[in-house]
């Protein structure tokens, strides 16, 4: 009970920092802007193809809003998430250390785990808000589409992007514990993020066992099924273990810095 209250107090504090500074507003606006652009572009592509299909029905393809609009938009946004989450996490610990406020947190009756979780959930909350606000762009589809899209693949797409974001936030949170400098935290997080993203590119039908293993860590590879509406336990397990691993590292790092100080 107290543990929850403490985590909640920290979440509120982080939201205060996010929303009284431009960070949250910039991220929300830019995310929404990019999602709007990706949506327009894919949607025009979709319209072109539906004209083509209407004119030559025999060569036409099966038109699906889910497959041809929502899936690609979510996929694009998952790449945007790679760029934006480092900005969510860079200041979480670095700033506390630079300002000396880590001393306040560390001498208050909080556990290190509560501090780590408070910061994690605060960033996750803002990321979730970004996804929701960005999704407002896509609501237009419901207003005009003669047959509305299936909601289930959309929900699983949401889940996919959210899980990806949580994993990236856990990684960024750990990196932020290692430095006093926000920029260093952001650059390192961003490089690691891109690195594990590219690992996924090693996956190919001809890949050998080593390449298969390496590509398993590709952070967006586990999204594909979920974006199509298939929630596979092995993908969920991948993200949850990634998140846990990041949080454990962050916790260890916060704890050990006191011993080394």
């Amino acid at each position: 009970m107290t543990a929850l209250r403490n985590v909640w107090a920290l979440v509120r504090k982080e939201w205060h920092h996010y929303f009284t500074s431009p960070i949250a507003w910039v991220l929300l606006t830019m995310w929404s802007f990019l999602e709007g652009i990706f949506f327009s572009a894919t949607f025009y592509g979709y319209l072109d193809r539906s004209f083509a299909t209407a004119q030559q029905a025999e060569f036409g393809m099966k038109m699906s809003l889910n497959d041809m609009v929502f899936n690609p938009v979510f996929q694009n946004m998952s790449v945007v998430a790679l760029f934006m989450t480092p900005m969510l996490t860079m200041r979480l610990f670095a700033e506390e250390k630079r300002q000396g406020t880590m001393e306040l947190l560390a001498t208050s009756p909080l556990t290190d785990l509560q501090i780590v979780l408070g910061k994690f959930f605060a960033a996750v909350g803002l990321f979730a808000a970004m996804i929701l606000v960005g999704f407002a762009n896509l609501l237009l589809v419901w207003a005009y589409a003669p047959t509305p899209p299936e909601w289930r693949p959309i929900a699983s797409g949401f889940l996919a992007v959210l899980l990806l974001g949580c994993a990236l936030i856990a990684l960024g949170l750990f990196v932020s514990t290692l430095t006093k400098n926000q920029i260093v935290a952001a650059v390192v997080t961003f490089s690691l993020t891109l690195g594990i993203w590219v690992l996924g590119w090693f996956d190919s039908p001809t890949a050998g066992p080593v390449m298969k293993f390496v590509s398993y860590f590709g952070i967006t590879n586990h999204l594909e099924d979920m974006l199509r509406g298939v929630i596979d336990l092995k993908d969920i397990v991948f993200y949850l273990s990634f998140i846990t691993f990041g949080l454990v590292l962050a916790h260890q790092s916060v704890e050990s810095q006191r011993w080394r100080a």
Partner: protein
């Protein structure tokens, strides 16, 4: 309330705190005195569970700082050397956040906030952003944060650093007012502060305790025999003769005095009060006695002596050099 035994902290090869032991009783104000880098902050950080010690034990309010840090943290209010504040928060918001993480029950939160804000006198900046406050106000917000959860023990690292003289006086009054209900440790390198606010002083230097006593006793102990300053009207010669003839006087030394008066530093044999005899002897010689004062060594002198001499413990009274009365604090 606070019990520190043999506390040691090493950073790599440097030893910041070297086997410190001391106790603080409930309601006491203990002054923690030492030059910069003596190990004051490190000791305080160990007591607040911010740093682990390398060796030794410490307990606060009956809880071991290593075994039950959460219990200790609930009972300790801590003001670090630089007040830990979020510049983007308003004073009221910040203190409310502190109340939450310090486990103040929601029902009491408003009352505790008002009390801490009142005591630390930050009511007029409650709605201001911390980043825009002056150094003095920041320090006070830091203090409000420390007393917010009504802790048994307050640990204040240089609470008056950077304040103007009026604020220093106010802060000292505030700290004195907190004693009794709270047990206070405050560190400082400003000596008058200790003499004015603290009931007891621990002087540390290079990580070791070099002296521990009340401010008065410390000066007494180091003063050796009580020095006296005698002012007489007229010529120095006859007065000096009269003074040196008094039984129990160890030495008489002429001091620069105003024109027409002669001043002497008289050192009696240890433990003897020769004031009455001195007065009688002078008056008996027909000399006008203008002043007779007992002179203590100031805390400054004690401090300098303890922290510059390479003595690991307080010097014995015999070895204490003669006091310099004119520069010294005067005790009536």
């Amino acid at each position: 309330m606070i019990d520190v035994q043999n506390l040691t902290k090493r950073y790599g090869r440097t030893t910041a705190v070297d086997g410190i032991s001391f106790k603080v009783e409930k309601g006491e104000i203990l002054g923690f005195l030492g030059p910069n880098g003596a190990g004051k902050t490190t000791t305080m950080r160990i007591l607040t569970c911010y740093l682990p010690a390398t060796d030794g034990t410490a307990s606060v309010a009956g809880y071991d700082v290593f075994k039950s840090p959460l219990e200790v943290k609930k009972r300790v209010g801590y003001l670090p050397e630089t007040p830990p504040l979020y510049p983007d928060m308003q004073v009221g918001e910040f203190l409310e956040f502190c109340a939450r993480i310090k486990g103040v029950a929601p029902a009491q939160r408003a009352a505790r906030l008002d009390e801490a804000i009142g005591k630390a006198r930050v009511g007029d900046v409650r709605g201001k952003q911390i980043g825009r406050l002056s150094k003095g106000y920041r320090q006070r917000v830091g203090l409000a944060q420390a007393i917010l959860h009504n802790p048994d023990v307050l640990i204040l690292d240089e609470p008056t650093a950077g304040l103007d003289p009026k604020q220093i006086l106010e802060t000292r009054e505030l700290i004195k007012g907190l004693a009794g209900d709270h047990t206070v440790i405050l560190s400082t390198h400003i000596l008058p502060e200790v003499a004015v606010t603290c009931g007891r002083v621990v002087i540390i230097n290079k990580g070791r305790v070099v002296a521990e006593d009340t401010p008065d006793n410390l000066t007494h102990r180091l003063r050796g025999s009580a020095g006296l300053r005698v002012d007489v009207r007229g010529e120095a010669g006859p007065a000096e003769d009269a003074l040196s003839r008094v039984a129990g006087v160890a030495s008489v030394r002429a001091l620069p005095g105003e024109t027409g008066t002669a001043s002497f530093a008289v050192e009696p044999v240890a433990g003897q009060d020769v004031r009455a005899e001195l007065a009688r002897a002078l008056v008996g010689q027909g000399l006008d006695l203008l002043g007779l004062q007992q002179v203590g060594m100031s805390l400054e002198d004690v401090f300098i002596r303890l922290t510059t001499a390479d003595v690991a413990e307080a010097p014995r009274p015999e070895s204490a050099p003669e006091p310099e009365p004119p520069a010294a604090e005067v005790q009536p």
